[in-house]
Symmetry: C2
Subunit: 266 residues, 2 copies
DNA sequence: TCACATTTGTCCGTATGTATC
DNA sequence: AGATACATACGGACAAATGTG
């Protein structure tokens, strides 16, 4: 791994224009830790540093970049929150290159919900349309291996229900697998984000075994329709499934409102 | 504003379970700056701190939380990158509460693209389907004020073209306005993210005036169809517009490949 | 099992640049 | 223009965690 040379106190504040085609240079003069963060990010983009690799220790990075350790640490915070590295304490610890960017996006999406920049109603409406679109793609060109994953998911969930255990995580996972089966990463990301909000919301409400059981049944029928490549039936099943879950959500809410809870999510 | 009391050296590592329904507490013991970050985030969620408000100075925050300034700084980095605050240096400076979460999501989405976790082809395919869906919503229930914004956008772009100036930003903005006109924030976010990738890609290629001009013409026709509430025509126009832009992208790429550039985006 | 080395996490003091009044 | 207040950054120090011999 190669890291750029050192330059203390930022001599003469050189332009340092490596990017091309940038009209109107950013107003904000980049701070040292930002430069270092983007520098390391570029190295990861280039593939020189890959998930699994380890960055040098903070002290060494400070040496190589010619800055203090505090600056390095703030740069690492950026990379960590962006999903590029994960920190590990102790002897053989350090900054490990990972790729959890997807997670980062879901978290920010959830932040938007908690900032009340979107309502649960908007999420539901968009979710139904998007998920139907995804399902169309799945039926058109899903690989059998992906369909098998869906099938396995439902089986696992069924067994849990049979043992009186909730299948919360599996039910969430089902929709992620659906997006994956579409073969388009963009859908995976969008679905993951939307599902994060739904999961958050559901965990606020609490789930009972009966609902979990109903959900698994719905999922099972959808998978069967997918296997038969029965486009229309699959879409109808999905829509009624999502609408049903939505109704249950709203039922929970209205019952809670009567007990004094006034948070409005819809 | 109220900030929690101080407690140095984390006495006895108390469970501190404020969240309900959390089975399997997180493996990673939260670090001080993470706790402080989520603490402040909660205050913002609650509405006690709103965009426009200012946080106390780093020194004061360090006092109130009973930690060192470095810890506060790292917490502020998290909040800054998450889009909750923006730092301002100088006399009356400090941490200003803002809401640029949307921006954060677009940036991460772009990161995924640069990590080659998705291809330009996937983006285009998903974009066409999603944007058609958005447009359907626009025609069904867009407010006239939103349609006027679309109209004004096209007019502004036309004037720029007439003066021989590119309308890059306006052309990008058009699609964001379209999402806004759908009335669903979820679509706004998804569109913003996808458009961020498209804009990045386009800036890599460079644009000529002729393309910009063609784009504006397409947009204008789409707006006209929206005003007439002509659903089918609008969707057809949009699809051919997006496919056309995609063809031009691919044309650029194949010409560049002949000149030795081998980056594969599709 | 125990000591040791390494590395992150945290604190303090200090200096500097910068925007505001 | 000068004073002030603040973020930015450096360096040294110690605590805590974790793997290793």
């Amino acid at each position: 791994m190669e890291l750029p040379g050192s330059h203390k106190t930022n001599p003469a504040k050189a332009p340092l224009v490596t990017s091309r085609e940038v009209l109107f240079n950013p107003i904000k003069t980049k701070r040292a830790f930002e430069k270092i963060s983007t520098e390391i990010k570029q190295i990861i983009f280039k593939g020189t540093l890959q998930p699994g690799d380890k960055l040098p220790s903070e002290a060494e990075l400070a040496n190589q970049f010619g800055v203090g350790r505090q600056t390095i640490r703030e740069a690492l915070r950026l990379l960590e929150l962006s999903g590029f590295i994960s920190m590990q304490k102790g002897g053989a610890g350090g900054a490990l290159v990972v790729d959890t960017i997807l997670n980062t996006i879901s978290n920010s999406f959830l932040d938007l919900f908690q900032m009340k920049r979107m309502t649960m109603n908007e999420v539901t409406v968009a979710r139904i349309e998007i998920e139907k679109m995804v399902l169309s793609n799945v039926i058109l060109h899903a690989e059998t291996s992906d369909i098998e994953l869906l099938h396995a998911n439902v089986q696992r969930a069924r067994e849990k229900i049979a043992h009186g255990v909730q299948a919360f995580d599996d039910n969430i996972q089902f929709h992620k697998l659906l997006a994956k089966a579409s073969g388009n990463q963009v859908y995976v990301i969008v679905m993951e984000s939307i599902i994060a909000v739904v999961a958050h919301f559901r965990s606020l409400l609490g789930m009972d075994l009966e609902l979990s059981s109903q959900v698994v049944e719905d999922h099972e029928k959808i998978v069967e329709a997918i296997i038969r490549r029965d486009h229309d039936t699959a879409l109808k099943l999905l829509e009624s499934h999502l609408l049903d879950v939505d109704r249950r959500f709203k039922g929970f809410i209205s019952r809670q409102k009567k007990r004094g809870r006034t948070e409005d999510y819809f």
